[in-house]
C-alpha cells in the first residue's frame, strides 16, 4: 500500500472510514490514479493565497477519465461522507489554483478527462470535456483546417474553457463573456444521475450546442461558481475567423484621463463598433510585461508615485493604455476605424498606436495575441513584479461610466498603499459593465507582508462593499465573506438548493460560501 499523506483526513471522517473509501477508489480507478503521497499532492497546495500552504492540503487526489467513474466516485463519497473538490485543469491562478477550500478535502482532478468530442465548423460550436486546454482545442482546430478562434483568459495555453467558464471568467475577443458563449452542459449530480441541460434533455436533439435556453428554468447557471454538481461536458460557441483583425492601442498620460476614455469607449462598445472586451491597462500592469519592481526600488511598501512616473517616462508607458480591436471585412473595419479615430481626435487626448507602429513591442504583442485568441504566457510576468509567489485577483464590477472607474481606482489604491502594496490593475469593458481586475501581489516568503496582504484583501472587500461594489469571483480564503456581501436571501436560496441537490454535502463544501 502506498504511503499516505496520513496526517490529513477529510473533516469529520475517521481514519478507518477514509481508508475504506480509498480502497474502493483504488479498485475503481487503479492505484496510479489515487494520489496519496506528499510528492504527488504537494502541487495541489502550491497556492498564491495569503495562508500557509498546509491549510489547503488535500487528503488525496483522484484522477477520473469517464462519466461512469465520476458517478462511482460520487457513490463512494456519499457512502463515507467524503467531500470532493473538483478541478478541471486546476490552473485557476489567483483564484485558488488547484487547492481545495478546506484542508483534507479530496481533489477530484479531471485533467485527464480531456476529449474534444466534436467541433462543428458550420455551426461554429464545440463540445468538450473539462480537461481540454485552450492549446489542445486550438491545435485540434488548426489540424482540421477550421477557420475558428477561441477566446482564452490571460493564462491561455494551459487553462481550460470548461473550468474558466464555470468560474465565469472572461477573455478579450468579441466572445469574451465566456458563460454567455457556452451552450449546454452535462452534469453528474450528487444522486448519481447525469443531467444534460437545455436541449440536451431531448432525445435525439441536434440543438444542444446551438440553443442555450431549452424549456423551463435555465439550469446551466446553477452549475457555475457553485457546488451543485460535477460538469463533465460543456458546449462552446467559437468565433469564425474574421477576414480582417485590426488591434490598436491608445495611450493616455494622466490618471484622470480614464474618465473621458471610458465615456468614449462605452458607446462604441454598446453600438458594436468595437466588439471585443476592451482593456484599459494601468501603468504597473502594463509595465509587468517587461519590468520588475526590483529594477527600480527594493524597499518594502508601496511603490512611490515618483517611481511610477519614472517608469512611465523611461518606458513610454501611459497612465492608462486602452487596447481594443476591430473585426470584420475590410469595408467594415475601414468604416469603424474612421469612427474610432475621429472620436479620439475629437476628444483631444490619447495617442493612437497601430500594430504597424508598435512593431515587436512586447506589451502590445501580448494584448494583440489575447484579442486574437492566440496562446500566450506573458501574463505570468506579473508574478515577478514583486516576486514571492503571492497573487490574488480582486475583481469588483463597475458600471461602464468614467466616474466609476476613477472612484474605484482611487479607493483601491488608497487601501493597497495603506497595506504597503501596489495598485496593479486594469478594466475589461463589456458594454454596460466593467470587470475591474486588480492583482494584489505580495511576497509569501515575508510572513508580515503575507499577513498584510490578507488584511488588505479583506479591507478591499469591506470598503468596496460599503460603496455598493462587489467582486464577481474570488479565491477560496474569502468565499464566505463575499457570499455575505451578496446578502442573506441569496445565501438562503443557495443553501436550500444545496440541501436539495447534495444533502450529504459532498461536493466542494465552502465553494462560493455554500454548505449544507
Amino acid at each position: 500500500m502506498a504511503a499516505q499523506n496520513s496526517t490529513v483526513l477529510p473533516r469529520g471522517v475517521p481514519q478507518q472510514a477514509f481508508q475504506q473509501a480509498v480502497d474502493k477508489f483504488r479498485a475503481l480507478l487503479g492505484e496510479d490514479n489515487v494520489l496519496l503521497r506528499d510528492e504527488q499532492l504537494i502541487s495541489y497546495r502550491k497556492v498564491m493565497m495569503p495562508k500557509p500552504a498546509e491549510d489547503f492540503a488535500p487528503s488525496a487526489a483522484l484522477i477520473a477519465t469517464t462519466v461512469e467513474q465520476v458517478q462511482s466516485i460520487v457513490a463512494i463519497c456519499n457512502e463515507y461522507k467524503i467531500p470532493i473538490w473538483t478541478v478541471s485543469t486546476g490552473h485557476n491562478f489567483g483564484y485558488g489554483t488547484a487547492a481545495p477550500h478546506d484542508k483534507g478535502q479530496v481533489v477530484l482532478d479531471l485533467k485527464r478527462m480531456n476529449r474534444i468530442i466534436e467541433v462543428d465548423p458550420v455551426m461554429c460550436t464545440a463540445l468538450i470535456e473539462p480537461g481540454v486546454t485552450y492549446q489542445q482545442l486550438v491545435d485540434y482546430i488548426q489540424e482540421k483546417g477550421y477557420k475558428l478562434w477561441v477566446d482564452p483568459p490571460a493564462p491561455s495555453a494551459i487553462v481550460g474553457p470548461v473550468g474558466n467558464t464555470l468560474d465565469r471568467g472572461v477573455g478579450y475577443t468579441p466572445y469574451s463573456e465566456h458563460f454567455m458563449f457556452s451552450c449546454g452542459m452535462e452534469v453528474v449530480l450528487a444522486n448519481g444521475e447525469v443531467l444534460r441541460t437545455a436541449m440536451g434533455g431531448v432525445k435525439g436533439a441536434n440543438t444542444w450546442q446551438v440553443f442555450k435556453w431549452g424549456y423551463g428554468p435555465y439550469l446551466d447557471g446553477l452549475f457555475t461558481q457553485s457546488n451543485f454538481g460535477v460538469v463533465t461536458k460543456m458546449g462552446l460557441w467559437l468565433m469564425p475567423e474574421p477576414p480582417v483583425f485590426k488591434p490598436f492601442a491608445i495611450k493616455y498620460q494622466k490618471d484622470e484621463d480614464i474618465e473621458a476614455l471610458v465615456e468614449m469607449f462605452r458607446p462604441l462598445s454598446i453600438n458594436g463598433v468595437i466588439p471585443n472586451g476592451v482593456v484599459l491597462v494601468g501603468t504597473l500592469y502594463e509595465a509587468s510585461a517587461t519590468i520588475r519592481r526590483s529594477d527600480y526600488v527594493t524597499e518594502a511598501g508601496a511603490t512611490p508615485n515618483a517611481i511610477i512616473q519614472r517608469i512611465r517616462d523611461e518606458h513610454k508607458i501611459g497612465a492608462w493604455t486602452a487596447y481594443a480591436a476591430l473585426y470584420g471585412t475590410t469595408e467594415q473595419v475601414d468604416v469603424n476605424w474612421k469612427i474610432v479615430t475621429d472620436q479620439v481626435k475629437a476628444s483631444g487626448i490619447g495617442e493612437i498606436v497601430t500594430e504597424e507602429q508598435a512593431g515587436q513591442e512586447p506589451a502590445f504583442k501580448y494584448r494583440a495575441d489575447l484579442m486574437r485568441g492566440n496562446m500566450t504566457m506573458t501574463e505570468f510576468g506579473l508574478y515577478n513584479w514583486r516576486g514571492g509567489g503571492g497573487s490574488m485577483w480582486f475583481a469588483p464590477v463597475a458600471q461602464a461610466r468614467g466616474s466609476e472607474t476613477l472612484k474605484q481606482v482611487k479607493l483601491a489604491t488608497q487601501i493597497l498603499n495603506r497595506y504597503g502594496l501596489d495598485y496593479v490593475g486594469e478594466f475589461i469593458v463589456g458594454q454596460r459593465a466593467m470587470h475591474h481586475i486588480i492583482d494584489v501581489l505580495y511576497d509569501r516568503n515575508d510572513l508580515d507582508e503575507m499577513q498584510r496582504a490578507h488584511d488588505c484583501f479583506a479591507a478591499l472587500l469591506d470598503e468596496f462593499a460599503k460603496q455598493g461594489y462587489a467582486v464577481y469571483r474570488v479565491n477560496n480564503v474569502y468565499m464566505d465573506r463575499v457570499a455575505e456581501i451578496y446578502g442573506p436571501e441569496q445565501r438562503r436560496i443557495n443553501q436550500t438548493l444545496k440541501r436539495a441537490l447534495d444533502p450529504n454535502g459532498i461536493f466542494a463544501p465552502g465553494k462560493s460560501g455554500i454548505t449544507v
Partner: protein, 200 residues
C-alpha cells in the same frame, strides 16, 4: 578553474551551456527530444534555470556533484513553445529528473504543469534573497523542514549548495552536500525564486 571548463569536465552535456553563446532552451530547434537520437542516457537529468539563476552558482553546485551524470541545462521562459515542449517531455514516457531554480512567474506554471502531467515533486521550495539576507521555505511535508533547511541555507553560497543537494536528493546522499564550500566568484542571487525536483 574557470566555470565553463569545469562543467565540461564534469560531464554536463553541451547542448548549449548557459552563460555561453547558444544556450539551450526548449524552443531551440537543435535540442533533441528523442533520447536515442541524441545518444543521451535513459534517465535524463535536466537543470531548468532562467534569468539571474543562469549566472549564479546554482549550476556550479550541480556540476560539482554530478560526477557520473550528464546534465542538460535548459533555459525556462514564457514562450508558448517552452510550455508545449515541457509538456511533451513530461508526457514522453521517458524517465526524467528536472532540477530547477527559476523565478516566481515561471515557477508558477512549471509546478502546475508537473501536476497536470502526473509528475512527482519530491522537492518544492520558495526562496527569497533580498539585501543579502536569504530566506527559504521548504514545502515538503514528508521531511523535517528544519533538517533540509540547514542542508543548504547555512552554506556560504546557498544556490550552489541547493544545486548540489538536489542532484543527490532522491538518491539518499543528501547529507554529503553539507560540507560543500563555495569557490564561486559568481554574483550572489537576489530576488524571489522557486526550486523544485520533478520526477516523471
Amino acid at each position: 578553474m574557470e566555470v565553463d571548463r569545469r562543467l565540461i569536465l564534469n560531464g554536463i552535456v553541451a547542448t548549449g551551456l548557459v552563460g555561453l553563446p547558444g544556450s539551450a532552451s526548449f524552443a531551440s530547434p537543435g535540442l533533441a527530444s528523442d533520447v536515442e537520437e541524441a545518444g543521451l542516457p535513459k534517465l535524463r537529468t535536466i537543470a531548468l534555470v532562467n534569468d539571474e539563476v543562469e549566472q549564479s552558482s546554482f549550476l556550479q553546485g550541480i556540476a560539482a556533484t554530478s560526477q557520473d551524470t550528464a546534465v542538460e541545462i535548459i533555459r525556462a521562459d514564457f514562450s508558448v513553445d517552452f510550455v508545449r515542449n515541457l509538456k511533451r517531455l513530461l508526457r514522453s514516457g521517458q524517465s526524467i529528473r528536472i532540477i530547477g531554480l527559476v523565478d516566481d512567474g515561471t515557477g508558477a506554471f512549471i509546478i502546475q504543469m508537473a501536476r497536470a502531467t502526473g509528475a512527482r515533486l519530491p522537492w518544492l521550495a520558495q526562496h527569497a534573497a533580498r539585501e543579502g539576507t536569504p530566506s527559504h521555505h521548504v514545502m515538503n511535508a514528508g521531511t523535517s523542514d528544519l533538517a533540509f533547511h540547514s542542508l543548504f541555507a547555512d552554506a556560504q553560497s546557498w544556490p550552489e549548495a541547493l544545486g548540489s543537494m538536489l542532484v543527490l536528493f532522491d538518491r539518499g546522499h543528501v547529507a554529503a552536500t553539507h560540507s560543500l564550500s563555495s569557490t564561486s566568484i559568481t554574483p550572489s542571487l537576489t530576488g524571489a525564486f522557486v526550486s523544485f525536483l520533478i520526477l516523471s
